[in-house]
């Protein structure tokens, strides 16, 4: 598995599907908050998956991303234990791919007509 690109692709797809069926933060109603959540939480998750002792951030919004990321990483390790066998760079790459897939499906290619309304 380590060093195997197709293996990482396959795992990224599985994690993406897991997130799709579970996490509410990817479905926020507008493009701006959906994108902010996906980038904020997946960015924090990429850090936490290689450094579980990452200190809690100071600002309330960053702390929220941290909490969602912490629970997500815990779920990923439980549901997909093969992640634990990956090296640091591979873990970061894996999380980046999941993030890009989420941005693609939930933002870029979204057919939700309300996503890009400027107001609520």
């Amino acid at each position: 598995m380590p060093g195997d690109k197709s293996g990482i692709d396959d795992l990224a797809e599985k994690i993406y599907l897991f997130i799709q069926g579970k996490c509410l933060w990817q479905f926020f109603p507008r493009e701006w908050d959906r994108k902010a959540n996906i980038e904020g939480i997946m960015g924090m998750a990429a850090e936490l998956i290689v450094n579980p002792k990452l200190p809690q951030p100071e600002t309330l919004v960053d702390r929220y991303y941290y909490v969602e990321a912490k629970l997500l990483v815990s779920d990923i390790k439980k549901e997909f234990p093969q992640v634990l066998e990956l090296g640091e760079d591979e873990k970061r790459e894996l999380m980046e791919r999941v993030k890009q897939k989420l941005l693609e499906v939930m933002v870029l290619k979204s057919i939700n007509p309300e996503l890009r309304l400027s107001s609520y």
């Binding site: 799709q20 069926g21 579970k22 509410l24 933060w25 479905f27 926020f28 109603p29 507008r30 908050d33 809690q56 600002t59 309330l60 919004v61 702390r63 929220y64 909490v67 969602e68 912490k70 629970l71 693609e104 499906v105 939930m106 290619k109 979204s110 057919i111 939700n112 007509p113 309300e114 996503l115 609520y120």
Partner: protein
């Protein structure tokens, strides 16, 4: 063929884009039912109106203010006493409602003086209540009554009262969702930031989109209390008018109904930097996850784990008993919007049930993104479903139980299919660990009740019935079954 045109909709083919069946491998960026658009003429919608969304869903649950409906008396009655959202002040908001009782003469000459008189009378009638919500309805909006002007005049004159006005005529928007939106945005614009609440804990939250239906909110407030967390604004179940004006002082917004109250959570994030944490409060796993997140946010994970352990130990054996009896049962969820995606995985993963059809009345596209992402392949997803579609779906999926509202519920009961109230709840609370057991118990009782089979039997020509008739003296009892063939009767049933 992801979208489906039901046979009953052949004359209104526009309905096809609202009805979807999930196929293997499909994603929400490929197919999404049309939602939050105007109902097509010819489709007998179950939707409510904007006023219903503002009053019945949100404003009506606030416990310490007078509810003043500026419109015909029917608007007041139809949103009064119909939803059991409890409060800890003897349910003032469930017992009292005021109306300006607009008649033709007031429509012709204007209703503002009548509203002013009604507001003053109401404050006199309830001298201990100093807060009020005034709702604009269809006729008073059409004649251009300026309720804000009247409210400001009365506030100046009386000095010690505060009035919130919400413009929610029934014709605005496509469903009750417009009323949710109006209430959220108007409250944010006009009231949040006006009041400084007393802070009693370093850990503060707003509970947003939780209406204390049958005590759901009491369960959640208890969890917060046990973790040492102060709930500032409970928007709006058991909510206090003034504390809701102090929502800007919380550190975290915990959002439950994202459909009816996501707007205010987003605005609090934008204006005050308070993050929005959406949680699912139904189902053991979801509830535990929500509590863990809240605990982790404040760095009090130990308190969260203690609470989860205590509640799980107390309630899990009961849930397991019901799970054995509910596994494999087919269920439909035909409710307002969010309960589709809140409930589907909890029912399927934790109770082993199979959700075969979901429909929402006022959902938006993001509600369907969530429902389809969490729902199973082969499940039917419908936006703004109509009566005939429901009958057709029942024939297709043959459910063991349907969670829906009283309107569709009465139709379902006539087909002798177990129905549970998915809006007002049957025997709640349904939230939390205890609540999910209540929910499982209600489902078990509904599915296994012998009444559904007994109700199918026509007993009117049974021998014992004839004997009873003779004993009672026939006509004196008022019952006359002569000439009634079972076939004729059955057709009516």
């Amino acid at each position: 063929m992801p979208f489906v045109l039901f046979k009953c909709d052949e004359a209104i083919p526009e309905r096809e884009k609202h009805c979807y069946v999930k196929a293997p491998g499909e994603d929400v960026h490929e197919y999404l039912p049309a939602a939050n658009i105007a109902t097509i003429p010819g489709s007998l919608t179950e939707r409510g109106c904007s006023y219903c969304g503002a009053k019945l869903v949100i404003g009506g649950a606030i416990k310490d203010c007078i509810q003043m409906i500026h419109g015909p008396v029917g608007c007041a009655y139809n949103t009064w006493h119909t939803k059991r959202y409890l409060s800890d002040n003897d349910n003032f908001q469930l017992k009292h409602v005021c109306s300006t009782d607009m008649k033709e003469v007031h429509i012709v000459y204007g209703g503002m003086k009548r509203l002013e008189k009604a507001i003053k009378e109401a404050f006199e009638a309830y001298p201990n209540i100093k807060r009020m919500i005034v709702y604009l309805t269809c006729p008073t909006a059409l004649i251009g009554d300026d309720i804000d002007r009247v409210a400001k005049k009365v506030m100046r004159e009386l000095g010690d009262v505060d009035i919130f006005c919400v413009s929610c005529p029934g014709f605005a928007g496509v469903s009750q969702s417009k009323g949710h939106h109006e209430f959220n945005m108007e409250w944010m614009r006009g009231k949040v930031g006006e009041y400084e609440p007393e802070i009693t804990s370093p850990y503060t939250v707003n509970l947003i989109g939780e209406y204390n239906i049958q005590g759901d909110g009491f369960v959640f407030e208890d969890y917060m209390r046990r973790m040492g967390i102060q709930v500032i604004g409970h928007f709006t179940g058991n909510g206090s008018y003034d504390m809701l004006r102090g929502m800007h002082r919380a550190k975290l917004n915990v959002v439950i109904c994202a459909r009816s109250a996501g707007y205010i959570a987003n605005e609090l994030k934008r204006r005050y930097g308070i993050p929005r944490l959406d949680i699912d409060p139904w189902g053991f796993e979801y509830v535990a996850e929500g509590i863990r997140k809240i605990g982790a946010f404040f760095g009090i994970e130990d308190r969260a784990e203690k609470l989860i352990a205590e509640e799980t130990a107390k309630w899990k054996p009961k849930l397991d008993w019901y799970r054995k009896r509910l596994a494999g049962k087919k269920i439909c969820i035909w409710t307002g919007g969010p309960r589709l995606w809140h409930w589907v995985k909890a029912f399927e993963d934790e109770l082993g049930m199979r959700v075969v059809a979901m429909s929402c009345k006022f959902g938006h596209p993001d509600d369907f993104e969530k429902a389809i992402s969490r729902g199973s392949e082969g499940t039917i997803y419908i936006d703004d479903g109509n009566e005939l579609e429901f009958f057709e779906v029942i024939e297709m999926v043959k459910p063991d139980l349907i969670y829906t509202g009283p309107r569709v519920g009465d139709l379902v009961k006539k087909l002798h299919i177990p129905y549970l109230n998915g809006h007002g709840e049957h025997n709640g609370p349904y939230m939390g660990f205890e609540g999910f057991v209540n929910m499982a118990r209600d489902m078990y009782n509904a599915i296994y009740s012998p009444l559904w089979e007994l109700a199918k039997e026509d007993i009117r020509n049974d021998e014992w019935m004839e004997e009873l008739e003779e004993e009672d003296g026939g006509e004196e009892s008022g019952a006359d079954f002569s000439g009634m063939e079972s076939g004729e009767v059955g057709a009516e049933g």
